[in-house]
C-alpha cells in the first residue's frame, strides 16, 4: 500500500509539473482565416484589464483540434479553454460554468438557444458559447460564368441546374472541374438534407440510410465520375480526414465551390481582385434548399486547475461588445442573441463581395430545415459524417460499388454505436 502511494505521488508530481501555473489560462485555438490575429489582440486586452490572469494562446492546426484534443481530453488533460467544432461529441469534457460565471441569466438569454449543442443531453450546463455560427453554402466564380456567357442559376436553382451550368462554364473556360465540395460529412449532409435525408431514428440513434441519402450519394458519385465534381478532394485521403477545396476555388480552377460562411474572410483575403465571386446560398433538392448550420464554440475544459480564472476569461469573451467586435473583425456570423437582435453589424471589410456574401448567408439561414437544425445537438452526427466520408471516398476511388457503400455506411455506424456501449 505504501509503495502504491509513493508511486501514485510520484506520478502526480510528474503530471502536475507540466501543468499550467496558478493564474494561467491556456487556450487551444485554430483559425480558418484572420480570427487568430483578432483573438490575440483580444487576449492582450483581457490581460491588461485582468493583470492577475495570464492567458496563453496556443494557435494550432485544425487537425490538432480534431485528432489530438479528443485524446488529451480522454486522458483527463488538455487546455483550459478550447475552440472546437465537435462540441456535442465531446460534451462530457466541458466544464459547467453555471456556478462560476457572474451572471448565468445573461448566458442563458444570449447563448441559451445553442447551449444544447455543447452540453450532455438533459443537462442545464453552461459549457461555453459559439464564437460564430456558420451555415454551409455555395460560392460561384462570377468572372468565369460571365466569360463563358452562361447565366448563373438563381436563388431557387436546384443542384442539377447548378451542375449543368457549372459544367458548361468549366468546358468553356477549360478549368479542371466544374464543382467541388469539401471532404466533410458536415458539408455533404447539406445537399443530402435537401434530398430529404433524415439520419435520426425514432429511438434517437442513427437510422439506416434512407432514400434521400441514397439518391444524393448516387447523384454525387455519378457527377464525380462524369468530371462535374472534383474527384481530387474526396480521394486524396483515407478514412474521414478533412480536406477543403478552397485552394482550387481561390486559384480560379472551379466554377462552383460548396463550403460555408466561414470561408468568406479567407476568400476575400486570398482572391482579392483576381476575379469576382458571389455566395449563392444552398442549391435546392426535392425536399428543401437548406444549408447545414454549425460553428465553432469556445468551451471551458473541466480538467482545468484554474476554474475561477477560466470563468473570468469566458465572461469577458462573452461580453456583448467583445462578441460584436470579434464578429465585425473576423466577418463571422455572431451567435449572441443581443448582437443579432440589435443588428447594425459593421463588418470590417471594404470588399463589397464579402459584404454581399455575408448578406446572402444571413438570408439563406432562414431556409434552414428543421432536420438540419437538430443535427448539431445530436450525439451521433459526427459518427454518421465519418462513416459517409470514409465510404464515399472509397467509392469515388473505385473500391466500392454504390450498394456496398450504403451497406458499409450502415454497418460502420451500427458498429460504432455498439462500440460506444449504447
Amino acid at each position: 500500500m505504501q509503495t502504491k502511494s509513493i508511486i501514485a505521488g510520484l506520478a502526480l508530481a510528474l503530471l502536475t509539473s507540466t501543468a499550467a501555473s496558478a493564474g494561467d489560462v491556456r487556450v487551444m485555438w485554430y483559425s480558418d482565416g484572420v480570427e487568430g490575429e483578432v483573438m490575440k489582440d483580444l487576449v492582450d486586452r483581457f490581460m491588461k484589464e485582468n493583470p492577475g490572469i495570464n492567458v496563453i494562446l496556443d494557435n494550432v492546426a485544425y487537425s490538432v483540434i480534431k485528432e489530438q484534443l479528443p485524446v488529451q481530453l480522454e486522458a483527463g488533460n488538455g487546455p483550459d479553454v478550447a475552440r472546437v467544432t465537435a462540441i456535442k461529441d465531446l460534451a462530457k469534457h466541458w466544464l459547467d460554468l453555471r456556478p462560476l460565471v457572474k451572471d448565468p441569466a445573461y448566458w442563458d438569454e444570449n447563448f441559451g438557444d445553442k447551449a444544447d449543442w455543447m452540453r450532455p443531453d438533459g443537462s442545464d450546463q453552461i459549457s461555453g458559447f459559439m464564437t460564430q455560427l456558420t451555415l454551409t453554402g455555395g460560392f460561384a466564380n462570377k468572372t468565369l460564368f460571365e466569360q463563358a456567357g452562361v447565366e448563373m442559376p438563381g436563388p431557387e436553382a436546384t443542384w442539377e441546374e447548378w451542375a449543368a451550368a457549372s459544367k458548361q462554364v468549366a468546358d468553356s473556360q477549360q478549368v479542371p472541374f466544374a464543382m467541388a465540395i469539401d471532404r466533410s460529412g458536415h458539408r455533404i449532409t447539406a445537399p443530402m438534407l435537401s434530398y430529404g435525408v433524415n439520419y435520426i431514428g425514432e429511438d434517437g440513434k442513427p437510422a439506416p440510410l434512407d432514400q434521400g441519402a441514397k439518391d444524393f450519394l448516387t447523384q454525387f458519385v455519378n457527377w464525380t465520375e462524369e468530371g462535374v465534381f472534383a474527384k481530387d478532394v474526396w480521394v486524396s485521403a483515407a478514412g474521414n480526414t478533412y480536406r477543403a477545396a478552397a485552394e482550387d476555388f481561390i486559384n480560379g480552377q472551379l466554377a462552383f465551390y460548396y463550403s460555408g460562411s466561414w470561408q468568406v474572410a479567407n476568400l476575400t483575403t486570398k482572391i482579392g481582385n483576381n476575379f469576382d465571386w458571389v455566395a449563392t446560398g444552398s442549391p435546392c433538392g426535392p425536399a428543401a434548399c437548406t444549408g447545414m448550420p454549425g460553428g465553432a464554440a469556445l468551451v471551458a475544459v473541466k480538467y482545468t486547475k484554474n476554474p475561477e480564472e477560466v470563468a473570468t476569461f469566458m465572461d469577458w469573451m462573452a461580453r456583448e461588445e467583445i462578441v460584436r467586435e470579434f464578429s465585425e473583425r473576423t466577418l463571422f456570423l455572431p451567435a449572441h442573441k443581443g448582437v443579432v437582435e440589435k443588428g447594425g453589424l459593421n463588418f470590417q471589410t471594404d470588399n463589397e463581395q464579402a459584404k454581399a456574401a455575408l448578406g446572402t448567408f444571413v438570408e439563406a439561414s432562414k431556409a434552414t430545415s428543421e432536420t438540419a437544425l437538430k443535427l448539431p445537438a445530436w450525439r451521433w452526427a459526427d459518427t454518421v459524417y465519418a462513416a459517409i466520408v470514409t465510404r464515399v471516398g472509397q467509392t469515388l476511388a473505385g473500391e466500392l460499388s454504390l450498394e456496398d457503400t450504403f451497406a458499409r455506411i450502415d454497418a460502420d455506424i451500427a458498429q460504432k454505436v455498439k462500440d460506444a456501449g449504447l
Binding site: D232, V235, A237, A238, N240, A386, A397, G398, E399
Partner: protein, 344 residues
C-alpha cells in the same frame, strides 16, 4: 638526439594531474562501495548492477507499454483509461480475423485492416526488392574511382537526413495535380496526369518516395561491405582476365552476402512500419490504396470518430509479432555472420 630541457615535461604532467585530480577523487569515492559490492555479489552481481539502470528504463518505456498494450487489446469500449474499459477477452482479435475470404478484404468485418495488411504486404515486397537493387547499384557505383566521389556519397545519403514530413511534402509538391512534374510535362507538350489520385500511380509514388528517402542508408552499409572485400581478389581476377559479370557473381556478391542479409532484414522491418512520409504524401488515399498497417492502427486508435483503442492495440500486437519474427531473423543472421574470433 637532444634530450628535453631539464624540467620541461614537469609542468605538463602537473597540469594533467591537476585536471585529473577531481576525476581521481570521484573514482576513489566510487571505488570503495563498488569494491565492497563486488566482494559481496561477485562478478555476475556487478553485471546486474551495471545493467540495472538500462533495464529499468527499457522496462518502463518498452516492456511496460507493451504489456499495457496487450491488456488493452483484450478490452472493449471507447474509454481511454484502462480502469474504465471492459474486459472482452479475445473479441478484438476475433473481429480482426472475421473474414470469409482473407484475399478479399471486402468480405471481412474489418475490411480496412485487411486492406492495410494487403497494401503493406505489397509495399514490403516491392519497396524492399527495388530498394536493395538500387542501393546495391548505387554502392557499386560509389565504390568506383569517381570524380567528386565524396560529394556523390553525400548526395545519395542526404535524403536520409530529412524529416519524413519534409520528404512527404517535397514529393507532394512535385506530384500533385498542379505540381512540378505536371508543369514540366506540360512544358514538354506531354499530357499531365493526376498522379496522387490514381490508385496505381499513388502506390508507385509511395514506393518510390520511400526508396528515395531510405536508400542512402542501405547503400552506405553496402558500400562499407564492398570496401571490406580484399583488393587482391579483384587483382587476381583481373590478371586471370575474368569477365566483370563473373567477378560480380563469384567475388563481390558472395563476400557482400552478410551485409546484404542485414540490409534485407533491416529494410523489411522498416517497410512493415511504413507510415509518416506516405501519410503526408497521400493521406492513405486514393480511397485506401496507400493505407498501410501503421496508419490503420493510428486511425483506429486515435484519429477516427469514436476511437477504438482496443482494436488498435490488437492490430498493433499482430504487427508486433511480425516484427518480432523479422528481428529474430536479423539476430540469427547476425550470429551466423559474426567472425569466429578467439579460437586459434
Amino acid at each position: 638526439m637532444t634530450p628535453p630541457a631539464a624540467g620541461s615535461p614537469a609542468p605538463s604532467r602537473s597540469f594533467a594531474s591537476i585536471l585529473l585530480a577531481p576525476v581521481k577523487l570521484v573514482m576513489g569515492i566510487i571505488d570503495v562501495p563498488l569494491r565492497a559490492l563486488q566482494k559481496a555479489t561477485g562478478i555476475s552481481g556487478m553485471a546486474i548492477f551495471f545493467l540495472a539502470p538500462n533495464m529499468l528504463i527499457f522496462g518502463i518505456f518498452v516492456l511496460l507499454p507493451l504489456a499495457i498494450n496487450f491488456v488493452y487489446s483484450m478490452t472493449g469500449g471507447t474509454a481511454f483509461f484502462l480502469a474504465d474499459r471492459t474486459f472482452i477477452g479475445l473479441d478484438q482479435y476475433d473481429r480482426l480475423f472475421e473474414c470469409s475470404n482473407y484475399l478479399d478484404p471486402m468480405s471481412c468485418q474489418e475490411d480496412a485492416f485487411w486492406t492495410a495488411v494487403g497494401n503493406t504486404g505489397w509495399f514490403v515486397v516491392l519497396q524492399v526488392t527495388l530498394m536493395i537493387l538500387v542501393a546495391l547499384g548505387t554502392a557499386l557505383i560509389l565504390n568506383r574511382k569517381l570524380r567528386a566521389r565524396s560529394f556523390w556519397r553525400a548526395v545519395f545519403f542526404f535524403p536520409v537526413l530529412l524529416s519524413p514530413v519534409v520528404v512527404g511534402l517535397i514529393w507532394k509538391w512535385i506530384l500533385q495535380r498542379q505540381g512540378l512534374l505536371n508543369f514540366a510535362l506540360f512544358e514538354m507538350g506531354i499530357e499531365p496526369h493526376n498522379w496522387l489520385t490514381d490508385r496505381t500511380w499513388a502506390f508507385v509514388a509511395a514506393v518510390g518516395v520511400s526508396i528515395w528517402a531510405h536508400m542512402g542508408f542501405y547503400a552506405l552499409i553496402l558500400l562499407a561491405g564492398l570496401q571490406a572485400i580484399p583488393k587482391d581478389l579483384y587483382e587476381a581476377a583481373e590478371m586471370d582476365g575474368t569477365k566483370a559479370s563473373r567477378v560480380f557473381w563469384r567475388i563481390t556478391l558472395p563476400l557482400l552476402a552478410p551485409n546484404l542479409l542485414v540490409v534485407v532484414v533491416l529494410a523489411l522491418i522498416k517497410a512493415v512500419q511504413v507510415f509518416d512520409e506516405v501519410y503526408v504524401l497521400t493521406g492513405g488515399g486514393p480511397g485506401t490504396s496507400t493505407m498501410f498497417l501503421t496508419q490503420y492502427i493510428y486511425e483506429t486508435g486515435f484519429a477516427s470518430q469514436l476511437r477504438n483503442p482496443g482494436l488498435a492495440a490488437a492490430a498493433s500486437i499482430l504487427m508486433g509479432l511480425v516484427l518480432v519474427v523479422l528481428t529474430l531473423l536479423q539476430l540469427g543472421i547476425g550470429r551466423k555472420t559474426e567472425p569466429k574470433g578467439g579460437k586459434k
